[in-house]
Amino acid sequence: MKLKICHLYPDVLNLYGDGGNIRCLTRRLQWRGMEAELVKMPIGSHESLAGVDLVFIGGGQDFEQQVLLEDLHRGRDEELRAAIEDGVTVLAVCGGYQMLGAYYETYDGQRCDFIGALDLYTVGARKRMIGNYMFRCDDALGGMTVVGFENHSGRTRLGSGVQPLGTVLAGFGNNGEDKTEGAHYKNVFGTYSHGPMLPKNPDFADLLLRTALERRCGSAELAPLDDALERMAHAEMCARLERERA
């Protein structure tokens, strides 16, 4: 069994340890005797998303945003929208998550159009939302707790066409106000948990793999792995955030 994983824009959307997510997905497949074929699609790549099972989009710096948007609007946006409607599994983090929405409006009112694959938009704020945080995924997704680190000034608002990925337990999430975190639409998972979120959230990592495998083969049984270290890192951060909240 093999999954084709695409790392979209690894050259610019790689802000902080994003590659750790790819490594985690790949390893967890390999440990179960399955294969992962990794395809990197940097800016300027003409490779098609056809046949891709799972797309990962990371976060990036403002400096490269213009270069990125130019590339997106050369057809990649249309292709992404089609893949999403077709049920391809997507993990989009921070800047990559915002990019799937309708637009980003800066603090001083300048608007930048994104690809509009998800019913959400983002407005820049002056105060950055930075720190360790945790949220609980929707019950339909398994209700697991996810710990991560967020660092964003954009406040994201969800439209009626998408569900929140989860409810904030500690930290800010989408906007620091409505307790929602991330977005879920078809098989797209958008989140502010930047950097390598998957290694220390093994249940969430397996949710992505299961979703992609189910689409590819109809059903997916994931053999359990020894996640003692992963769960230790996860539990320690949960405990710390609980303590800070108390």
């Binding site: 790689n14 680190f149 660092n151 950097g195 270290l229 992963e230 890192a233």
Partner: protein, 457 residues
């Protein structure tokens, strides 16, 4: 103003005295209070002092120790902020401690390392003679933001010190761009293409796109990270010629490097007292700074051969059967250099990785996934025991697991006393790679066992 300055100085000295009575460093706190009473105090105290300031992401402390050595060798009357307190508060404390109550600094020269984000407030007050910018890498996003913001900060700082001569890393496209649009005199230092085998272009470059026009750079030669002979195919921005150029790295070992350095057209052979290529950059920058401060190139070259490294920077301790070496890491670029160094050893060794996530470390530990710990798998035949420690030991353990290090080989030890005993029990050399606050704490535990200087000495 005079009364305020006087009060600030008295309070600062008093707070420092009390701190030391309590066996604390008192490196930053007294200056913070002094600054509060008399903003701009640093400007008053540094008025008649000839200052060389070192900033940049990596290599500040090592460069400062190299430069300082030249001042010591030449018998100059100088002081330096050795403790690592490199923000406005810490630098102010250091100046107060070297000044009279009337606000006159007793020293002729100062060698000051300055945090890159603090350069905005520090440079205009210090009015340095020479500013060294070692390099700019992505570092602690939660604290500094994007690397281009850091660059803008340093640029704004320099705008407040137009008389300063800039010593800039020619191989860093970000740093070298500081020569644009600034009236300052500037010189470049760097490693010439071909001086050592070229590294590979990293997918995780911190500066892949032209700072002027955003086109992707092309490289004829790479030392590491985004450093090397960059050129923009679109606007023509490229690595400037280096005035202090390392034309050959003839030898690299675990003890140091031998280099050929060409300074303003004159070549000489020099030894660098610390291993790894990043210290070759530090050495070239230090020679540039010493020369531009008027001490002569020879003084700089002598200094890089016998300076004493900063605490935790390749610092040796008499622990275990074969000794221990502590190598501070703060960000992916620095960590990759340390990992490269480990891979070059080709002898059995043990490893300790200590990961903290406090303010000075950066509260976001995501960066450990940008550092290529996979390299440890390449030298697995030499890597024996492996321990992880620090506040985020579990995250570090997970990182190493996903790098391909077998989990059974991992020893998690959070207690520093026990960790020191573990290190002491090793038969092979132990390399310790801690983040900043982990380094301070672990170093204290090491010193309790085998002796050594407190961090502020």
């Amino acid at each position: 103003m005079r009364v305020r300055a006087f009060l600030a100085i008295v309070l600062c000295k008093l707070l420092r005295f009390v701190s030391r009575l309590l066996h604390r460093g008192g490196t930053a706190m007294p200056g913070r209070w002094a600054q509060r009473i008399c903003p701009g105090l640093l400007g008053i105290l540094s008025r008649d002092v000839k200052v060389v300031v070192i900033t940049g992401t990596n290599g500040k402390t090592t460069s400062a120790r190299m430069i300082e050595q030249a001042f010591a060798d030449e018998g100059k009357d100088y002081f330096a902020n050795r403790s690592g307190a490199n923000l406005l508060s810490g630098i102010t404390t250091e100046f107060v401690m070297n000044s009279t109550l009337s606000g006159r600094c007793r020293k002729e020269y100062a060698v000051i390392e300055c945090d890159e984000a603090a350069s905005v407030s520090v440079f205009p007050l210090l009015k340095p003679r020479v500013i060294v910018v070692t390099n700019l890498f992505r570092d602690q996003l939660d604290r500094y933001g994007e690397v281009t913001h850091t660059l803008a900060n340093v640029r704004t700082g320099i705008q407040g010190a137009p008389e300063a001569t800039l010593c800039l890393n020619a191989d860093c496209s970000l740093t070298a761009s500081l020569a644009d649009d600034l009236p300052n005199k500037h010189v470049f230092f760097g490693i010439e293409p071909g001086a050592c085998p070229s590294g590979e272009k990293s997918e995780l470059s911190d500066a892949p796109h032209c700072i002027r026009c955003k086109t992707e750079y092309q490289y004829d030669f790479i030392t590491y990270g985004h450093l090397g002979a960059f050129r923009c195919p679109s606007c023509g921005y490229c690595r400037p010629a280096a005035d202090y150029a390392v034309t050959d790295v003839t030898e690299q070992s675990a003890e140091g490097s031998v280099i050929v350095l060409n300074a303003h057209g004159k070549s000489c052979l020099a030894q660098v007292n610390l291993p790894a290529l990043y210290n070759v950059y530090n050495a070239a920058g230090a020679v540039a700074a010493v020369t531009e401060m008027g001490l002569g190139t020879e003084a700089g070259i002598r200094a890089i051969e016998h300076f004493k490294c900063g605490f935790g920077r390749m610092e040796n301790f008499a622990l275990g059967k074969a000794g221990a070496k502590m190598m501070l890491v703060k960000n992916p670029a620095g960590c990759n250099q340390v990992l490269d160094f480990l891979c070059q050893i080709k002898k059995p060794f043990a490893l300790v990785v200590c990961l903290n996530d406090r303010g000075a470390d950066g509260t976001d530990v995501s960066w450990i996934y940008d550092a290529a710990f996979e390299k440890l798998v390449d030298c697995a035949s030499y890597l024996g025991q492996l321990a992880v420690s620090g506040d985020r030991a579990a995250d570090m353990a997970v990182r190493l697991k996903y790098a391909g290090v077998a989990p059974k080989a991992l020893h998690i030890e959070r207690d520093y006393e026990k960790l020191v005993s573990w290190i002491d029990a090793q038969e092979v050399p132990v390399f310790i790679i801690p983040t900043y606050t982990a380094m301070l704490e672990l170093r204290e535990a090491v010193i309790r066992k085998v002796g050594g200087d407190e961090f502020w000495v």
